[in-house]
């Protein structure tokens, strides 16, 4: 069986739809990982011990085990306790929580790096503890850690390929569909790789743009 790239264009639409779903799942998981990452970071630094320790255990579990295993647990495991999630939702939750833990680590470092005087100043001006954290400390911290979080988002895009294993019809799985019809794995996986590479380039350019804007605003 030789190589025949002429069959790829006829599956162009399929791969395009797959790319669309890859972008959708990456975007949804990115938003979840960002919001949950901030929450986890705030709890880890300011929460009561009763909350802090379970969250530390949670972070430890998510950092110490493979993402693929976590996806299996969320998709197949939750059925055991009566929660039957659609594959797309399970994928977003799995990817989102996995990267939330990594983001939380970075955001914690960012919060610690915010000058203590900002906190004291805000409290002196009469803001409550919650207001100070939510409106003064966290926004400054998040702004300073955008570049490393951007790197996590690039890793997230590539790891989104894993959700094909639980049956989300994104780029990798659409390539597999085309392969099951044509029996030309090399061509279609290469085409999928090219799609990922392009999306990745666009994402990197977008992140660089955001970083520049933040630097200008400072």
């Amino acid at each position: 069986m030789g190589l025949d790239f002429t069959i790829v264009p006829s599956y162009f639409t399929l791969l395009l739809i797959g790319s669309g779903w890859t972008i959708a799942i990456t975007a949804a998981a990115a938003v979840l990982s960002f919001v949950a990452g901030i929450l986890l970071a705030v709890i880890a630094l300011y929460g009561p011990a009763l909350l802090r320790y379970p969250f530390r255990l949670f972070a430890w579990l998510f950092m110490g085990t493979p993402l693929l295993l976590q996806l299996f647990l969320i998709y197949f495991g939750l059925i055991q306790i009566g929660i039957d999630l659609p594959a797309f939702v399970a994928g977003v939750i799995g990817l989102g929580l996995h990267f939330a833990v990594y983001n939380s680590d970075i955001i914690q470092a960012g919060i610690v790096a915010v000058d203590r005087g900002q906190y004291e100043g805000a409290r002196t001006l009469g803001l409550s503890r919650v207001q100070t954290i939510a409106r003064i400390v966290v926004p400054q911290a998040v702004r300073s850690v955008i570049p490393p979080i951007g790197n996590n988002m690039i890793a997230l895009l590539k790891d989104s390929a894993l959700v094909s294993v639980i049956g989300v019809t994104e780029l990798t799985l659409t390539a597999q569909l085309a392969i099951s019809k044509t029996f030309h794995p090399f061509e279609f996986y290469l085409a999928a790789a090219a799609c990922y590479y392009l999306i990745n380039l666009v994402l990197e350019a977008g992140l660089r743009h955001i970083e520049r804007r933040i630097q200008l605003a400072r």
Binding site: L3, L67, F72, G77, Q80, K158, S164, Y189, Y197
Partner: protein, 215 residues
């Protein structure tokens, strides 16, 4: 939690963990080899080699490892490369992590103070002597910790080869989830083993790092 079941199946998980360990060790070795070559290419004086190194890093870091493994394992036979799943897994993962290690190694070499090169060259050492005797020994210390991060990611990354049916830890967990319908127990078993492997590796990296600092 069904502890009886976990006690019955854990020997199979331990056997699978050996495969995961084997994958991790071989992949680390291959990754370090690719990383050293990649870093040498990226830092060389030849424009062609530099471009080759840069495209290696860009392509392999810019596409999912899963796709790379699929191209090698399923697409390989079309271009005359016949590999069993284990071999494809090791080569796929190793070349992939090698791209990340290229950047780690290059970063450590660049981080060595420029004055060191200038001083060594002034004292009459050749370019290659300077690299071997002055720069690399110092860079080696700087790269232990970041390479440890790469290896940590690699160990978790070995789970990917479950998708091409290598009977390692994740594949075993998946198979027992299928036959027992007890995902939490199976996840727990596999998860604990992964964490032990990663924890012990982390201790090893810390030990190496401490030793490198003392000397």
């Amino acid at each position: 939690m069904d502890f009886d079941l976990m006690l019955r199946v854990y020997p199979f998980f331990l056997k699978a963990a050996l495969v995961t360990l084997e994958l991790s060790v071989l992949t680390t070795a291959l990754g370090l080899g690719c990383g050293a070559l990649g870093a040498a290419a990226r830092l060389s004086r030849s424009t062609v080699l530099r471009a080759l190194g840069a495209s290696y890093v860009s392509v392999f870091r810019g596409t999912p490892a899963l796709i790379q493994i699929f191209i090698l394992y399923f697409g390989g036979p079309q271009i005359g490369i016949q590999l069993d799943a284990f071999g494809a897994g090791v080569i796929g993962l190793g070349v992939n992590i090698g791209a990340y290690m290229t950047e780690t190694i290059r970063g450590a070499i660049i981080a060595v103070d420029r004055g060191q090169t200038e001083a060594a060259r002034t004292l009459g050492l050749s370019r290659s002597e300077t690299m071997r005797k002055v720069i690399l020994p110092q860079a080696a210390r700087l790269m232990i910790r970041p390479l440890g991060v790469n290896i940590n990611a690699l160990i978790k990354g070995t789970a990917l080869v479950a998708a091409i049916s290598v009977v390692e830890l994740t594949y075993t967990a998946q198979r027992y989830i299928g036959s027992t319908y007890k995902p939490f127990e199976m996840f727990f078993l596999a998860g604990v083993i992964y964490m032990v492997i990663i924890y012990v590796t982390g201790l090893g990296v810390n030990w190496l790092d401490r030793r490198a600092r003392i000397t």
